[in-house]
């Protein structure tokens, strides 16, 4: 059966979980509607919520990227945030007055200032991040797991230190102050920072960014799912399961690992560019080791290697601190008269507990990949799914 059309008919979307396609489409539509309506529902509670959702979308992209590296290919990268930084600073430098202010030659060449469109800057930033990924990955991929983790951590810190200090003698990054006045995103004639009237509505800038970022996050999800269910995805899984056997079966382990690294880096780069445009300024503070750990805890909490799980983990760990900030903090005020544990500490506490708790009690994550089994295989081949008993034992 090598006719792809026939294969699609025999394996309609959703058949992996054994559910009829109509159910899957309905669920997708419901989720889609919810996503569209969300900012309007949350808006009255304060723009902080919509802002939180925007950051959640960014974290989803980051978590999905890290998931390719850690979840699919099994490589623990603790310096992942460096790629985010590369993407962010690339857009920042290409779309702000910084370079023209500090380099007269450039000011001369671009009298109207550097205002590279994000749609051009994103691919540039992504490619640059991918290049860094290959540069970093090439020498270190042969290292064993924990050494790889530490080296990548070191690289991440090196990048941060350079970002913090490359302001003398030539001011590239403006050091700790970071780069400000970054251009917002423009879609056609609509400037997302000052949208005015769009299709008869007057949405706020935040809402428009929300739609943009959520769309990009959904795109990222789609890319990940497609990668996972492909020849490449299988190769990653094989490497994760048994590298030697994978090699013996003809998989060029080194190159495939490198590909995971650079693809993950690309996701980070894209998210970084969007972040810079959204926030309007970037500084080295946003790219610390803590952020790498935050993204890692999102991947781990959700379900290492399982795309929907990772999205869940990212949304939870991005939104929960916001929720806590609005509940636990005032609660402490009410009970104790003052804030004993402020929101920032709560956030760190949450990440720490999440990571340790998950590793000890539910190492596969909150939403791990569903069990393989006879049911799944039969459903794939068109036989009735849920009615068939599942065989094959499975431990927890």
């Amino acid at each position: 059966m090598s006719d792809p059309a026939a294969s699609e008919r025999a394996n309609p979307p959703g058949s992996a979980s054994g559910r009829p396609p109509s159910q899957v489409y309905a669920a997708t539509a419901a989720v889609g509607l919810a996503l569209i309506a969300l900012p309007w529902l949350l808006g009255p509670f304060g723009s902080a919520w919509v802002r939180g959702l925007c950051f959640a979308a960014l974290y989803v992209m980051l978590a999905l990227g890290l998931n390719i590296v850690v979840g699919f290919a099994g490589l623990l990268d603790l310096g992942y945030i460096a790629f985010y930084a590369v993407g962010a600073y690339t857009y920042a430098l290409l779309a702000s007055p910084h370079l023209t202010e500090h380099f007269p030659a450039l000011a001369h060449a671009f009298p109207a200032g550097l205002h590279v469109s994000i749609w051009l800057a994103l691919p540039i930033g992504a490619s640059l991040a991918a290049a860094f990924g290959i540069l970093l990955g090439a020498p270190v991929l042969k290292l064993r797991g924990d050494y790889l983790a530490i080296v990548t951590l070191g690289f991440g810190e090196i990048i941060r230190i350079f970002l913090n200090n490359l302001n003398a003698p030539l001011n590239f990054t403006n050091g700790p102050s970071g780069i400000t006045l970054i251009d917002p995103v423009r879609i056609g004639s609509v400037d997302l920072a000052h949208p005015g009237s769009v299709l008869g509505f007057r949405p706020s800038s935040l809402v428009l960014y929300y739609y943009l970022l959520v769309s990009m996050a959904l795109l990222a999800m789609l890319v990940c799912i497609r990668l996972q269910d492909s020849r490449l995805g299988r190769a990653w899984m094989a490497i994760r399961e048994d590298e030697v056997a994978a090699k013996a079966m003809g998989i060029n382990v080194r190159n495939v690992k490198l590909l995971a690294f650079s693809l993950g880096a690309t996701f980070g780069g894209v998210a970084g560019g969007l972040f810079a445009a959204f926030q309007g300024f970037v500084s080295p503070e946003s790219f610390s080791l803590m952020e790498s750990i935050v993204v890692l805890s999102m991947v781990v909490l959700g379900g290492l290697g399982h795309v929907p799980g990772v999205v869940l983990g990212a949304v939870m760990l991005a939104m929960l601190p916001e929720a806590l900030r609005h509940t636990v903090v005032p609660l402490q005020e009410a009970i104790f008269g003052r804030v004993l544990i402020d929101a920032e500490v709560l956030r760190m506490l949450l990440y720490g507990l999440a990571t340790v708790g998950i590793m000890l009690y539910r190492p596969r994550g909150l939403w791990p990949a569903p069990e393989h089994g006879v049911r799944r295989a039969l459903a794939r081949n068109g036989a009735p799914g849920p009615a068939v008993a599942q065989s094959g034992s499975r431990d927890g």
């Binding site: 090598s2 990668l227 190769a235 998989i251 393989h372 089994g373 794939r380």
Partner: protein, 264 residues
């Protein structure tokens, strides 16, 4: 005239103080079932690892189908046409049996990341082909009913078959099996024998390490015997069985002396 499929000579490998392989040579002809036997520790698996690129030899000449190769990378060797199984079964435990075999197809297929993301027609066609080829192999090998089961849940004998199926998926010229009958009962061994004969009939040359003398005698066209890293005998199973050096290696000098006396 049977042509030479694999030729290796002057293969040496030293591990610190131990000379694991000394001047080992082997010549396998197309469509043979070739046996590599010898007492434990003789260097059989080491030689296997060298042939298949998992271990770099100190020296040696290697030729596959007349083309010289240096076993530097296991994946290159697989691509060139040698596929193997492992003494301690190395399946991908948390992937299904079908997926294990599909991984075997990796080396003969081409879809890359871009194809995957864009779901090009080429990618979809290839993916279908991979799936159906794997399905076919699994059915032929006789474990079709386990297609959707996780590899580690398969019964032992079927795990070994799965490993063979996975290796076959790479379309090898030479199938190198490291003790495929280990741990099998008589029935399973008979089944394995049948399977290997079928595989050979399809045009695949087979090299196997085995301890089960009966299996080797009944199956192999030609045998090389290793002891302490050296080749001590080459020939048909019958010739090798009667070779006093081989008897000495397995059973000790007194028995060999008896045989030598008989031969005079």
């Amino acid at each position: 005239m049977a042509e030479c499929l694999l030729r290796a000579g002057s293969v040496n490998k030293r591990f610190g103080g131990l000379q694991a392989l000394s001047d080992v040579q082997i010549q396998i002809e197309r469509n043979q079932i070739y046996g590599l036997i010898g007492p434990n520790g003789a260097g059989k698996t080491t030689f296997f690892n060298v042939l298949t690129g998992l271990l770099k030899p100190d020296s040696g000449r290697f030729e596959l189908c007349g083309l010289p190769y240096w076993p530097s990378d296991a994946h290159r060797v697989a691509k060139a046409g040698i596929a193997r199984t492992f003494q301690n079964i190395r399946l991908f435990p948390d992937m299904t049996a079908l997926e294990n075999v599909m991984v075997g197809r990796h080396v003969r297929t081409h879809a890359n990341a871009l194809d995957a993301v864009l779901r090009t027609r080429r990618a979809r066609t290839e993916e279908s082909a991979i799936r159906s080829a794997a399905r076919q192999l699994i059915d032929e090998i006789g474990i079709g009913r386990y297609a959707g089961h996780l590899a580690r849940t398969l019964p032992y004998g079927d795990q070994r078959r799965l490993e063979i199926a996975r290796a076959l998926a790479t379309e090898p010229k030479l199938l190198a099996l490291d003790e495929p009958a280990a741990g099998m009962n008589a029935t399973e061994k008979a089944g394995l024998r049948e399977l290997l004969v079928t595989i050979r009939a399809k045009g695949v040359t087979i090299l196997l390490i085995e301890h089960d003398v009966k299996l080797v005698m009944g199956l192999c066209d030609c045998v090389t015997v290793l002891d302490y890293g050296k080749v001590i005998s080459v020939g048909t199973p019958i010739q090798v069985q009667r070779d006093p050096d081989v008897i000495e290696a397995y059973l000790g000098r007194p028995h060999a002396a008896l045989v030598r006396q008989e031969m005079r």
